[in-house]
């Protein structure tokens, strides 16, 4: 990297750093974009502008810009943080099948998942920083005075480590350090289980909130994470396929069918856990558990639970994955969007149901029969702004980074990864898939038509 006058030589590219030259370069770049991309980025920037105002409003501590109260202390900001944080883990869980276990079918996730994971986790951190009144104290307090009795402290440890591992993963991927990359991917997959599990434990240890309390909360968190990450990959790979972005052939032939398979598995697991949540809650003996579950299934939360969480978020995507006519990229996109909406509704109704039936008066306020919480415009803007930030940053990454997957190779062959010496060839994957069965038939409802072991040999030695 060298700097001379008004330009900066960065890895062989000349980047103007003078204000006028940089402005002209940006203008040239914008003019070179297709109109659709310009509109997309413009729209996202507009949303971000609104969110920036909301962020400024939320900065002074104690201002009543959030709809929370002592009886409903955790609101949409916590929901948004959990949503983005678990999505990060889900991306790593879904892609670990390719990056860690060497299953060739899941290899196309490799670069894109890592970029998405870094961006999603950064968004989660930004949102929690805006929710906390004194985020800087958290960084210093948590490092200088460890509180190992607090699950929230452990969550900070694991998610902090996670960000470091993800950054190493991205760096090693683009700078071609295959062995470090392999280590980082494997570590990221391990932390991808630890981190959402600990996030679940943040809720799961609170005996004062019986709906949250218990071991199934962390399990649900990991399962939702897997589903959310897979759904995001589905949306991104549909865009890659549709917009003919880098490596789009493999997107349609391998990535999208793999997303369908993983979505089906995730929907089955999460569906079972939701049934358990309701059945256990309705038969709950701890005071407040049954009442909170009733609020969820037939009280103030019933519409979002049945309408969004169950029908739109579980049943509809399952049908889309099952029906032959929707076993195509567009069907996968629709299923992925619905799953993501369902996961958001799940996180929202989970955080709400935990607090909606207060078992005590809170700081002098009696809430009967239910505590009430309505997210304010500031909170909604910040959540939507988080989505826009993720979308904008990813769009830029997709445009300016080399997202072709073919140059990502395995540096270390873990004992569980079988090697072969055939040169990696995207067309080769396609041939194998095509020979096994037409790609659209790959769903979780029938045995995988392709011998996964047979194509899971992509390690190049």
């Amino acid at each position: 990297m060298t700097a001379s006058g008004h330009t900066l030589n960065l890895g062989g590219r000349t980047v103007p750093i003078g204000p006028r030259a940089a402005g002209a370069a940006i203008a040239r770049e914008v003019r070179s974009m297709p109109i659709g991309l310009r509109l997309w980025i413009g729209g996202l920037l507009a949303v971000l502008a609104v969110a920036s105002v909301a962020a400024l409003l939320s900065l002074p501590p104690g201002w009543e810009v959030f709809g929370t109260s002592p009886s409903f202390e955790w609101g949409l900001m916590i929901v948004a943080y959990v949503f983005f944080a678990i999505m990060t883990s889900g991306l790593c869980l879904a892609s670990s099948l390719g990056t860690v276990f060497g299953i060739e079918r899941f290899r196309p996730f490799e670069k894109r998942h890592a970029i998405l994971a870094v961006l999603s986790l950064s968004t989660a951190f930004l949102i929690i920083a805006l929710d906390l009144h004194f985020p800087v104290r958290m960084v210093f307090g948590a490092v200088l005075v460890p509180s190992p009795t607090s699950p929230m402290w452990w969550m900070g440890v694991f998610y902090g480590a996670y960000l470091v591992v993800l950054l190493v993963e991205v760096w090693s991927m683009f700078s071609d350090h295959p062995r470090i990359h392999q280590w980082a991917c494997t570590l990221a997959a391990c932390v991808a289980i630890l981190a959402p599990f600990t996030l679940g434990a943040v809720f799961g240890v609170i005996s004062a909130k019986p709906f949250w309390f218990g071991i199934f909360t962390p399990i649900m968190m990991v399962a939702s994470a897997f589903l959310a990450g897979t759904a995001l990959l589905g949306i991104v790979f549909y865009a890659v396929h549709r917009l003919r972005l880098a490596d789009h052939e493999r997107s349609a032939s391998i990535a999208l069918p793999s997303v369908r398979l993983l979505l089906a598995v995730g929907l089955l697991i999460v569906g079972a856990l939701v049934i358990r949540q309701v059945v256990a809650g309705l038969n709950g003996t701890v005071p407040g558990h049954r009442e909170a579950t009733i609020a969820l299934v037939s009280g103030p939360l019933a519409l979002q639970f049945w309408g969004v969480r169950v029908i739109a978020g579980l049943v509809a995507p399952a049908l889309l994955l099952l029906m032959p006519m929707t076993r195509n990229p567009a069907g996968t996109l629709a299923a992925s969007i619905l799953v993501l909406v369902g996961i958001f509704a799940d996180r929202y109704s989970f955080v709400m149901a935990g607090q909606i039936f207060p078992t005590t008066t809170a700081a002098g306020t009696v809430s009967y029969p239910y505590a009430s919480y309505e997210p304010t415009l500031v909170e909604i803007s910040l959540f939507v702004g988080g989505l826009a930030l993720l979308a904008l940053a990813y769009t830029l990454a997709e445009r300016y980074l080399d997202m072709g997957e073919t140059d990502v190779h395995v540096g270390i062959n873990w004992p569980w990864v079988r090697r072969h010496d055939a040169t990696h060839d995207p067309a080769h994957d396609h041939d194998i898939l095509a020979a096994g069965s037409p790609a659209p038939d790959i769903t979780g409802t029938s045995p995988a038509p392709v011998d996964v072991a047979a194509i899971g040999l992509g390690a190049q030695s």
Binding site: T149, K209, T360, D421
Partner: protein
Amino acid sequence: MNEQPDGGAPTAPADATDPADPAPAETPDRASLVPLDELAPAISVVSKSRRAFLGFGLAVTGGLIGAAVLARFVPVFAEELDPASPIVPTYDPASKQWTFVVDTATCIGCGLCVVACKDENDVVEEPVCTRTWVERHTTTTDGTLYVDSPDGGIDGFPAESTAPGAAGKPVAASHFQPRLCMQCADSPCTSVCPVGATYHTDDGVILVDTRRCIGCGYCIVACPYGARYLVPAEPGAESETTPGIADKCTWCYHRINQGQLPACVEICPVGARKFGDAADETSEIAQVLREQNPQMLHPEFGTKPRVLYLGPSIEEA
């Protein structure tokens, strides 16, 4: 298709002898043909970058460990860890067994305790957030229990319960229940705080360090007695409490370590709130403990509260 035995991976014999695949013979050959001299620059580049990477990791880890060690010697939080010392140097917290007893049979629901607490501790007026409050528990003749606490009981109570659905129903029984932080021995708030901002003093009182609290609200959702809240900002108000941090009753810690009673105990006109050092056997509180056997409210929460109750609240619980 081919497999190589690697780290104990099973090898199918048929694959290993597959004549169609020339790869097994090629790989070792290729490696053996490259002279070591030619490989040396590449190896040094790889090891240099790895060394740089490891060096960076070591520097970061060393920095963090160094900061943690330094924090032990440099008193970053020293004055906060010993909050009692600047107030009364002769006060010995370890010798105290502060105990709070509330007699719900005596309380008349006048709300003076709430007023005194807000005044003494500079608690914000609006919106309603109180360190202590009074509830009215009304049981109607159909056996339903209604709880109301208009504005935390600060202005007393109207004749009829303000709880939704209670209006017009004949009342079978009613009592007032003053509430405050229970100063639990096994407190969830202290164990969940991610930065150690809320802690037990040696004399068993739970305090919040206003300079360390980050305002995450975890202690508030974890408290089964609803004793905590985040301090709201009062526009234009000259408040000593920092907005955005967790706050709760401290049993007027600044008063009790100077030999005074908590403000709510001092002002109570009927003596429904009793406070003292149970370690002093001649004190009133020790006598109450010996003779009247006050009980915990909701012992099923398992937090071992240090505020004990007498009267109908115990029968109801």
